[in-house]
């Protein structure tokens, strides 16, 4: 198979991977004894006490900082892959270029580090 046709396998993976759990859970539902519904079973678990207030509350901004940093560095990584593939044909130019690229991003990381964006729940006290 040519490389392009390999993607058919990937598509099959997605389809089978999506169907397989559905099938399994369906088979399991056939094997189970009939349901005995009781109201207490369907309560949310909070260590045997009723929970106070909803669970869907605001969450701290800390998580957002990590997500933001992740996006930035992920994009950087995506740019580094073509560099890695075509490295040989560029010689010294590629080396210098990658050093500059990474230096700029390392500077960004150092800035985030210094500003406390990498602290979990402590930097914002």
């Amino acid at each position: 198979m040519s490389v392009g046709e390999q993607y058919i396998t990937i598509a099959l993976f997605v389809i089978v991977g999506a169907i397989f759990p559905v099938l399994t859970i369906f088979v399991a539902s056939l094997l189970r004894k009939p349901r005995t519904p009781e109201p207490q079973k369907y309560l949310t678990y909070e260590c045997s006490v009723l929970p106070f207030g909803p669970a869907w509350v605001q969450h701290n901004v800390e998580y957002y900082m990590y997500a933001l940093l992740f996006v930035i560095f992920d994009v950087e990584t995506v740019f580094l892959y073509p560099w890695a593939m075509t490295y040989r044909s560029f010689g010294l130019f590629a080396t210098v270029e990658v050093i500059i690229f990474i230096a700029v991003l390392a500077l960004g990381l150092a800035y985030a580090w210094k500003k406390g964006a990498l602290e979990w729940m402590r930097g914002w006290r």
Binding site: C47, S48, V49, P51, F52, G53, A55, H59
Partner: protein, 551 residues
């Protein structure tokens, strides 16, 4: 050590004068208000006043050096209710008991929370059990019983028939309300998380209602009483020897120490002297229990950190101690081995050799633990600097035991207020300076070695003889009086306050001052401001056992 013993005796004799001096000062300052003041025995003072005069007397005592509020009990006599305060003075080394008389129809008394922060939970419990109303208490709710409970169980006129306490079939847990206040400007909402009774890392059924902002803990409120069995009420219907098995079930991890505290109090009331061999064996058994308890602490601590291996190893070492105890008493956990006046029976043949063997084997095994913990950077980083408890705050909150010693305060009941024959042994009080979780762990770890030391000394001096005092009568009816025995249980200061009315074979009132109760009351004060994993580790380092807290 040799200089200390005669000095102590002198101090006792001088103390007669010194204490009389304190009592005289009290009488001269307060005059008519002091109804009675006496020295029951060395290091036990007693003062009787009326309820309304409590606050000035307590303030005077606090300024005279009585800084550790040990226990507050409520006792219901026919014609009056008494609030009994036990306050220990670290500088002076003596205990003051204040009996404050209150009229039965209106038992109101001033709250001591402004003076002693440790009074908080004790007063709530006295309100819960006996119905004494403490004016000025910040949060006078029930402690051990649900909010909707009607009546005060430890009153003598409380009916103990089966009744339904819950309104219309709804269980109490649905009714506990917590106010969730809306967030202030610019702050994120807080979430109230219930780290509830059924959770793998609250040791036993303790419920912590935590208010979180993100993952930072803003407020913790422990809710206890899920294991409340009413032991103090049961005591009033059992004879003195019949109550002994119940004491095992308080701190079920180290049962002998509970037995010991109870038995010491009754022996003080009776005035019997325990034979020498029994005393030495009691010390050996108590120290074995201390080792077992600290090993269990290490195991549970490892489990909370996610180090399951340590948990298994800790239990394996604890099995060695449990084997020794099984040879002696036939039981692995709840021994019921001490008796009023000595022990149940003598130890079997060959037991002493087994203990010596154990003393030899354990330090080698513990060397493994040292590598596991102290070479593990993850462990050190998780525990260092977490949950720092300042020494002044610790004393103020009534913390005792390894928690207090980890904050640098070198106080140990075995040294300050020696009971049994502990003054004959040479051991040091293990302290650490930092006051954080790692320090608490270190203190308990090093205490194991001190206990091994004490056992070895006791084994070397073990005399022959009988193990039960012949003076103890068949039916135990101690003369009218009160006794307060304090011991150093592995978790802290364990004390029993027993009132005997001289006529009946049952105790009139038994009040148990459990160390874990007071240590837990201190927990919310220093554990806020951390994130959840830190709080879990903090909680593990308090080393609680719910049987003792809830009784």
């Amino acid at each position: 050590m040799a200089e200390e013993k005669p000095a102590k005796e002198e101090k006792v004799e001088e103390a007669q004068e010194v204490k009389h001096e304190l009592l005289d000062t009290l009488k001269s300052k307060f005059g008519e208000k002091i109804l009675e003041a006496k020295l029951r025995r060395p290091r036990r003072l007693q003062v009787r006043i009326k309820g309304e005069d409590l606050y000035p007397v307590a303030e005077f005592l606090k300024n005279s050096g009585f800084d550790h509020l040990s226990c507050i009990s409520g006792v219901d006599y026919e014609d009056r209710i008494e609030a009994v305060y036990h306050i220990w003075s670290y500088p002076r080394g003596e205990l003051m008991q204040i009996n404050a008389e209150l009229p039965r129809e209106n038992p109101e008394i001033a709250s001591l929370v402004p003076l002693y922060r440790a009074a908080d939970w004790h007063e709530r419990e006295a309100y819960d059990m006996v119905g004494i109303i403490f004016k000025g208490h910040p949060n006078l709710k029930r402690m051990l019983l649900p909010e909707s409970f009607k009546g005060h169980p430890l009153r003598k006129d409380f009916k103990t028939e089966p009744m339904s306490w819950y309104s219309e079939g709804e269980a109490e847990m649905w009714e506990t309300q917590v106010e969730v206040s809306p967030p202030e400007e610019g702050e994120t909402e807080t979430m109230v998380l219930n780290i509830g009774p059924q959770h793998p890392s609250t040791h036993g059924v303790c419920r912590l209602v935590t208010t979180l902002s993100g993952e930072t803990v803003v407020k913790i409120e422990p809710v206890i009483g899920y294991l409340h069995r009413g032991v103090e009420k049961i005591a009033e219907k059992r004879t003195y020897p019949q109550f002994l098995p119940l004491t095992d079930r308080m701190d079920y991890i180290s049962s002998i120490t509970n037995n010991l505290a109870y038995v010491l109090a009754v022996e003080e009331l009776l005035g019997v002297k325990v034979p020498e061999r029994a005393e030495y064996l009691r010390v050996i058994l108590s120290e074995l229990q201390r080792i077992a308890n600290h090993l269990m602490f290490i195991a549970a601590f490892g489990a909370d950190l996610g180090a399951w291996t340590v948990m298994m190893y800790g239990f394996r070492e604890r099995e060695m101690v449990l084997d020794l105890m099984e040879q002696v008493s036939g039981q692995r956990l709840l021994y019921n081995f001490l008796r009023i006046g000595g022990l149940k029976e003598d130890v079997p043949e060959g037991w002493v050799e087994n203990v010596r063997n154990f003393l030899r084997v354990l330090p080698e095994r513990l060397a493994d633990y040292k590598t596991y913990f102290y070479n593990n950077e993850i462990f050190i980083k998780r525990c260092e600097g977490v949950g720092v408890l300042e020494p002044e705050l610790a004393i103020e909150l009534g913390v005792t035991g390894p928690m207090l010693r980890a904050s640098g305060v070198a106080r140990d009941v075995r040294k300050d207020d020696p009971y049994s024959i502990y003054d004959r042994f040479d051991f040091e009080v293990v302290t650490e300076e930092a006051g954080d979780t790692l320090a608490r762990f270190n203190v308990r770890f090093r205490e194991i070695f001190e206990s091994l030391n004490i056992i070895e000394q006791a084994l070397n001096d073990l005399p022959e003889g009988e193990v039960r005092s012949p003076e103890v009568p068949k039916v135990i009816r101690p003369p009218k009086g009160e006794a307060y025995s304090r011991i150093e249980s592995p978790k802290g200061e364990l004390a029993y306050y027993i009132v005997s009315d001289g006529k009946s074979p049952n105790p009139y009132r038994v009040k148990i001052r459990s160390p874990a109760f007071c240590n837990l009351s201190a927990f919310p004060h220093y554990a806020t401001g951390e994130i959840i994993p830190d709080m879990i580790v903090n909680f593990a380092s308090v080393d609680i056992v719910m049987g003792e807290i809830d009784r």
